[in-house]
């Protein structure tokens, strides 16, 4: 039996008129974090979006949010729907959807490792997926600087000349165009 809170959430989901944008065959919907799983469950069980295509995150560091994107597909209407949920970057946590699709656990495991987003209760979410033994900050976060990391980790062989890419291109490759930049 559904609790009062669950009933309220389901009602809110039904009443909500999501803002959709995108071309035919693909739409995006923004929903609140507390309604997301109820909404996705309804999409799967009632509206025929039975296929979880992928689940990923986009880091908007300037707004201090992660935008989670659940892409689901309806085979009957041939429609892709991207359900987007904004969650705060600080202490990022989201409800798990592994009970809806078992393979969602793999996506959540990767999101935990790459973005540091926690999904409590998701099977194996704390196990390392790709980066065994990684201790730094989650590398897909925007503040992780790949260039700095490689400079600190790897060292150039002696005797090689390196150039600043932008300056070198201006001077050598496109000298005539450089003045117009």
């Amino acid at each position: 039996m559904a609790t009062e809170r669950q009933e309220r959430t389901i009602q809110e989901v039904k009443d909500s008129d999501p803002v959709c944008d995108g071309q035919a065959g693909l739409k995006f919907v923004h929903v609140g974090a507390d309604q997301a799983v109820a909404y996705i469950t309804r999409l799967r069980d009632v509206q025929g979006y039975t296929h979880l295509v992928f689940f990923t995150a986009i880091d908007y560091i300037e707004d201090s949010i992660f935008r989670l994107t659940y892409m689901v597909h309806n085979y009957a209407s041939r429609q892709d729907l991207g359900v987007q949920v904004d969650i705060p970057r600080q202490g990022a946590t989201m409800e798990s959807i592994h009970h809806l699709w078992p393979h969602a656990a793999t996506y959540q495991r990767e999101l935990k490792e790459m973005f540091g987003i926690d999904f409590p209760g998701s099977p194996g979410v704390d196990d390392s997926f790709i980066l065994e033994g990684w201790t730094g900050i989650p590398p897909m976060r925007r503040e992780f600087d790949t260039k700095l990391y490689s400079e600190q980790t790897y060292f150039p062989r002696p005797g090689r000349v390196t150039h600043d890419t932008a300056a070198y291109m201006k001077e050598k490759l496109y000298p005539s165009e450089a003045e117009t930049w």
């Binding site: 693909l26 295509v53 880091d59 994107t69 996506y107 790709i130 590398p139």
Partner: protein
């Protein structure tokens, strides 16, 4: 002492930890043994490893380990201009790189509002079908070799090489073609190309007849592949299974038919399905789809336009600012649904590019499920029958 849930000691499966829900293996009991298969095992199509727990010669637990091919493409692309991302994307899937090129180009064009010429659309479809053909030929070799029939692998890999010769003639590259660029394609077809394609296709068709006789009606192959790794229709959506793995279970879905892209709505073909759901049924689906690719290439060469532009001029790609927006483009590759989710924030650099490879679900969650109760000798055959390429898991 680990607290476990109620356990029958006669069971070949291990007790389950009451707190974590994980199986507890007493490796000192002599009942279980851990075997690592990979990351360099030839039966596994690429570098990933399987941590198998066996009881006798039967697998009772399988854990997949990936990460041997992680090069951080998605992260690297966040620091590069769109045109600089282009030579990176094809490396996400080695045996079939053209789908990456196509989807990246298509996504960029959609975000930038660029319409490509009609001829380029035909050339793109032709390249994608040739890539499918090459990938299937390599896969047939892998599947046969996994069951000890290396000769068949030599036949089909030779044929794949002839397809690569055609790619070399078309684009200059054998493995990474970088032919489908944003705006269209890089070059026109060389003179006499259609004739040479037809000669190669005729050769491949003949070899496929031999493969069918030697593989599909082979008693050893039938005995081992039938009933191996059964995917029931009920788990297809649950595990996000697409492509021949789903079609082998009687599910009639193909993006080329359901959401036609490029010129597929102008070509005649039907969706290939089988109902067995096992490795044998999947082999039939792929063999027939190989012939289907040959047929589609022939159709395209016959009706495609021969004149007109093949490239739409782009703004200076070094200063190309793509308008803000997001899109998801998908295509039917040999393994299932391949997709690119691209987000632009209006600058010269992409905000996020996410690559959806079908192997992500097939090789990890599905493999872990199907491997249980399989004889250890059939692991390689099962793995290949799911047709997975690990680079697209790690990206």
């Amino acid at each position: 002492m680990v607290e476990t849930v109620k356990y029958d000691p006669r069971s070949k499966f291990p007790p389950v930890d009451a707190n974590s829900g994980k199986s507890v293996y007493n490796l000192l009991s002599g009942k279980y043994m851990k075997v690592w298969q990979g990351p360099q095992h030839p039966g596994i199509t690429g570098n990933m490893s399987l941590e198998l727990t066996v009881c006798g010669d039967e697998i009772i637990d399988c854990k997949t380990h990936v990460g041997y091919l992680h090069r951080g493409f998605e992260k690297l692309m966040e620091r590069r201009r769109y045109i600089q991302c282009f030579p990176l994307v094809c490396r996400i899937c080695v045996p079939e790189p053209d789908f990456n090129e196509y989807l990246f180009a298509e996504g960029t064009e959609e975000l930038a509002g660029i319409e490509i010429p009609e001829k380029a659309r035909w050339y793109r479809a032709l390249t994608l079908e040739m890539a499918r053909l090459a990938s299937f030929l390599m896969w047939i070799g892998g599947q046969a070799a996994a069951f000890g029939m290396g000769t068949i692998g030599q036949w089909t890999v030779t044929m794949r090489d002839y397809v690569l010769d055609l790619f070399e003639e078309l684009s200059g590259g054998r493995i990474y073609h970088m032919y489908i660029i944003p705006g269209g394609v890089r070059a026109d077809l060389p003179a006499g190309f259609a004739l040479r394609v037809e000669q190669t296709l005729a050769q491949i068709w003949k070899v496929l007849d031999d493969v069918e006789l030697a593989l599909m009606y082979n008693a050893v192959f039938k005995k081992r592949a039938m009933g191996l790794g059964v995917i029931t229709p009920s788990i297809v959506d649950e595990y996000g299974i697409t492509g021949p793995n789903a079609r082998g279970s009687g599910i009639q879905r193909d993006i080329r038919k359901d959401n036609p892209y490029l010129v597929y709505d102008q070509l005649e073909f039907s969706i290939v399905t089988e109902t067995g759901g096992d490795a044998y049924a999947r082999t039939w689906v792929r063999l027939r789809e190989t012939r289907q690719s040959i047929d589609l290439i022939r159709q395209m060469l016959e009706i495609m336009p021969t004149s007109g532009p093949f490239f739409q001029k782009l703004p200076n790609v070094l200063h190309w600012k793509i308008p803000g927006g997001q899109t998801y483009k998908k295509a039917e590759c040999t393994r299932g649904e391949y997709g690119f989710f691209m987000v632009s924030d209006g600058t010269e650099l992409p905000r996020r590019i996410y690559v959806r490879g079908p192997s992500y679900t097939h090789a990890v969650t599905l493999m872990e499920k199907l491997a249980v109760n399989v004889n250890i000798a059939d692991t390689a055959g099962l793995m290949v029958s799911l047709h997975t390429y690990p680079p697209e898991i790690e990206r």
